[in-house]
């Protein structure tokens, strides 16, 4: 009997080891030097703050919640791909941590009187990872590839009507009117690619082996497992990058990401839940980071189709509904207090925020307003929310139904599969109330406003209001930041009196780093630029 057991056990171990040793692609890859990192952390306390020796050092391991789709910016549909790809490239201008636009591959620029022609003076002596020198031709090619059929984001390049070479180190960018968001868009999307190489290998070849001028160079992408970059030894910004190697690991399950950082198998993890972040606060060697994300959750009203001739056509009813929803209660109950009540449709990190306070929770005031609007006995209305895409959103929508019920409004809630939901939204076939959320990373709320309030022409809009259109038009062509700020403020006051939404909340995101990591600072947009992030080797 004992022998059978021991035989079985031995066989078991042998089998697992044998199968384990079968060389498959991921198994061949080098294991991260987890032990080495632990040793350093244990023996040299505070070593992360000590002066670092010359040149990039160590391997920075970043856990991503999903696998990127592409490392070529015009074909990156999601934030995760954008994060992974952006380390390889430089734009002409860079948006720094304070939101200011600073020179990158362009050393300087000037705008014509009418604001439609931008002339950029390019940095000289910069080379791509493959050794090609950077010139004006590459800028033109980047734009041409960006507007071509191969691009998923033509509208990010169509913001310019022409990009032309003046000489090897001068280009002009022409727009059909002043475009205040041009530089921000360039920073986010116009990642310069080498024309000669791209023409030679084509987009497919480029996708397989991407080349930029950025701080890191592509080494390998083992599908389903990891992406590895190495430091660019010829990077034009002296002293950067700080890490010698950068590895992105794909870990879909957030509980596994928590275990991975505690085990020192990765250095940075993103997108943790509030509970997971809380559990990591007591973990040795781990720092928890949290910040507000420029995303607004809201219940949209419809005045284009199903909402016409319903009680929500009356502004007082829409105000009443804003007073009726206990957003702070929802944040407390469903997000453990992590989040902030939205003050209108401008996020707290965006231009022009702070002019209007959030609607307070005041069911009595809501009832008064409803009575004034002629709905003292309330009314019945339909609402739809997408399921499975936003954290705890089903519960949020149910809480809103309950809150509105308290002031006499009977809401029939339908949770919809998210694909079907947005499909119907584009076709303008949703009920009069719709739960949704929208993020924007430009530091301004213009894109979000134009998208959600653009009337019939905008895919995801259920609302049209001439006054809002007019103000958005002015914002879209106003180059002066202060004047734009004033316009945003005017718009917010108007949108408080005539709310196109029930404003809900701005979410908080949680991340964690090993304490061997220094210089890590995510943007409100959850974007990472890792050129200045160091890890103790």
């Amino acid at each position: 009997m004992k022998r059978i057991f021991s035989l079985g056990l031995t066989l078991l171990v042998l089998m697992s080891l044998l199968i384990g040793c079968t060389p498959t692609a991921p198994a061949e890859t080098e294991a991260p030097p987890a032990d080495a990192a632990t040793e350093v952390a244990d023996t040299e306390e505070g070593s992360a703050d000590a002066p670092v020796a010359e040149g990039p050092q160590g391997t920075l391991r970043v856990a991503l919640p999903t696998e990127p789709s592409s490392l070529y910016i015009p074909t990156t549909p999601d934030k995760i791909s954008d994060i992974a790809a952006s380390q390889l490239y430089d734009p002409l201008v860079f948006q720094d941590k304070t939101g200011a636009i600073v020179p990158a591959l362009a050393e300087s620029w000037e705008t014509s009187e009418d604001g439609t022609v931008w002339t950029f003076k390019l940095r000289q002596g910069v080379t791509f990872h493959n050794g090609d020198p950077f010139t004006a031709d590459d800028v033109v090619a980047t734009w041409e590839y960006g507007i071509s059929d191969s691009s998923s984001w033509p509208e990010k390049y169509n913001i310019a009507t022409a990009v032309e070479k003046v000489d090897d180190f001068t280009v002009t960018v022409t727009t059909d009117g002043p475009k205040p968001l041009l530089l921000v868009t360039m920073h986010d999307f116009w990642s310069i690619i080498p024309k000669k190489y791209m023409d030679e290998v084509g987009v497919d070849g480029f996708l397989a082996n991407p080349v930029g001028t950025g701080p890191f160079m592509f080494k390998e992408w083992v599908k389903g497992d990891h992406i590895t970059y190495v430091a660019n030894p010829n990077y034009w910004q002296a002293g950067y990058p700080k890490a010698a190697e950068l590895v992105f690991r794909f870990i879909p399950e957030s509980a596994t990401r928590v275990a991975a950082i505690q085990q020192d198998e990765v250095d940075i993890v993103t997108r943790l839940s509030a509970e997971e972040a809380e559990s990591l606060k007591s973990a040795a060697g781990v720092n928890v980071i949290q910040y507000q994300v420029p995303r607004i959750y809201y219940i949209a009203f419809d005045n284009l189709s199903s909402g016409i001739d319903t009680p929500i056509a009356e502004p007082k009813v829409r105000q009443a509904m804003n007073y009726a929803v206990d957003v702070d209660g929802i944040i407390k109950a469903l997000f453990a207090g992590n989040g902030q009540r939205a003050a209108g449709y401008v996020a707290s990190s965006e231009l022009g925020y702070g002019i209007v306070p959030p609607f307070p929770y005041d069911p009595e005031k809501a009832k008064t307003l409803l009575a004034e609007a002629g709905y003292a006995d309330g009314f019945e209305i339909d609402m739809a929310c997408p399921s499975g895409v936003f954290a705890a959103f089903q519960e949020v929508c149910q809480a809103i139904v309950s809150n509105l019920g308290d002031v006499g409004i009977t809401v029939n809630l339908e949770m919809m599969e998210s694909g079907a939901f947005w499909d119907l939204m584009v076709k303008k076939q949703l009920p009069p109330l719709n739960g949704d959320s929208w993020a924007d990373e430009s530091g301004e709320s213009y894109n979000r406003m134009a998208g959600a309030l653009g009337g019939m022409d905008a895919g995801y809009s259920l609302w049209s209001d001439p006054k809002i259109d007019e103000l958005l038009d002015q914002i879209s062509s106003e180059l002066d930041r202060d004047k734009r700020k004033a316009l945003y403020e005017e718009l917010q006051v108007y949108m408080q009196e005539n709310p196109p939404f029930i404003y809900l909340y701005e979410p908080v995101t949680f991340e964690a780093t090993r304490d061997t990591v220094t210089g890590y600072s995510p943007r409100p947009s959850e974007m990472l630029y890792l050129y200045d992030t160091a890890v103790a080797p």
Binding site: M15, I19, G20
Partner: protein
């Protein structure tokens, strides 16, 4: 045997067609890909151009016929997420999934069969109760939950195993163990009842009366008889493991097909989901057909429908 083979193969082909129809229909019911693939700020024209380019604007029946025709040519379309042909992407992930499933199956056989044999010969003993408890737990604990618990205990707390990925040989142990448990329970149950059945057969009693050692009887006389019924179950269970690895691969960030299908669903990458569903289904159908044939070869009563 030929008639039997043709009949079974015909059934498999019909099933395969059913799978193709289902795979196509299911992913198309979830809404318009253009709404999800394009940026929210894209204009109506840009969206229409995308539909046109991807062929999503044509009648569904035509899309289906085109798709089926392409599938028979081995062209499953391009993944919307990766913008690469979907089939190679799936095949790339196959070795990792096979490695996981094979290790899991090995665990299941090595744990389930011996335990089942012993339990069968010692019905209602302590070891039998223990075996049945394990089998029950193995089949009823959600593998997603168990995976997280094992990560917590053996990865995070004890540090014995890596918590994710497939970098090291020992990386396979935790996910394969979780994957093996339900199958192990099934094999244990099956072996136990088979052993219960044969232990009263004349040849076993004769063997005992001849004074043969219990282990010899197990291995030489009982196992071959149990093996017949195990063959059919193992074939089916291996197919189950290929499909059942979705959650486990996601929890352990295992770079196989299971994780890919989990992510492809999130990306709403229709061609990729379809490819994985069809590919996995065909592999499972093939395995089942093979099992049926082996079974019939081993036990002629089967093919005569007795």
């Amino acid at each position: 045997m030929l008639k039997y083979t043709v009949r079974k193969a015909g059934q498999s082909l019909l099933l395969a067609l059913g799978v193709l129809i289902l795979a196509f229909a299911m992913v198309r019911m979830t809404g318009d890909p253009a709404s999800l693939m394009m940026s929210r700020n894209a204009s109506a024209e840009e969206r229409e151009a995308f539909r046109e380019a991807m062929g999503f604007n044509r009648p569904v029946l035509i899309q289906f016929v085109d798709w089926i025709t392409d599938v028979f040519r081995g062209d499953f379309g391009d993944s919307l997420h990766f913008r690469e042909p979907a089939l190679p992407l799936v095949i790339q992930r196959l070795p990792a999934t096979l490695r996981l499933a094979a290790t899991g199956l090995a665990f299941a056989i090595l744990m389930g069969v011996p335990l089942g044999l012993i339990a069968g010969f010692r019905a209602n003993s302590l070891i039998d109760l223990f075996g049945r408890l394990i089998a029950l737990l193995g089949q009823s604990i959600p593998n997603f939950w168990l995976g997280l618990i094992l990560i917590l205990v053996f990865g995070q707390q004890l540090g014995w195993f890596p918590v994710f990925g497939a970098d090291k040989p020992e990386s396979v142990v935790l996910p394969a163990f979780v994957l093996s448990l339900p199958v192990m329970g099934e094999l244990l149950r099956l072996t136990r009842s088979a052993a219960l059945e044969v232990r009263n057969e004349d040849f076993v009693r004769t063997a005992f009366s001849k004074g043969l050692h219990r282990h010899t009887i197990y291995i030489k006389h009982v196992l071959p008889n149990v093996a017949i019924s195990l063959v059919s179950v193992i074939g089916v269970e291996f197919g189950y493991m290929l499909g059942g690895s979705i959650y486990i691969e996601t929890v352990f960030a295992w770079p196989g097909m299971g994780q890919l299908v989990g992510q492809a669903l999130g990306w709403r990458d229709f061609p990729l989901v379809q490819t994985i569903v069809v590919f996995t289904s065909l592999v499972v159908l093939g395995l089942n057909l093979l099992t049926d044939l082996i079974y019939a070869l081993v036990d002629p009563r089967i093919r005569h429908g007795k």
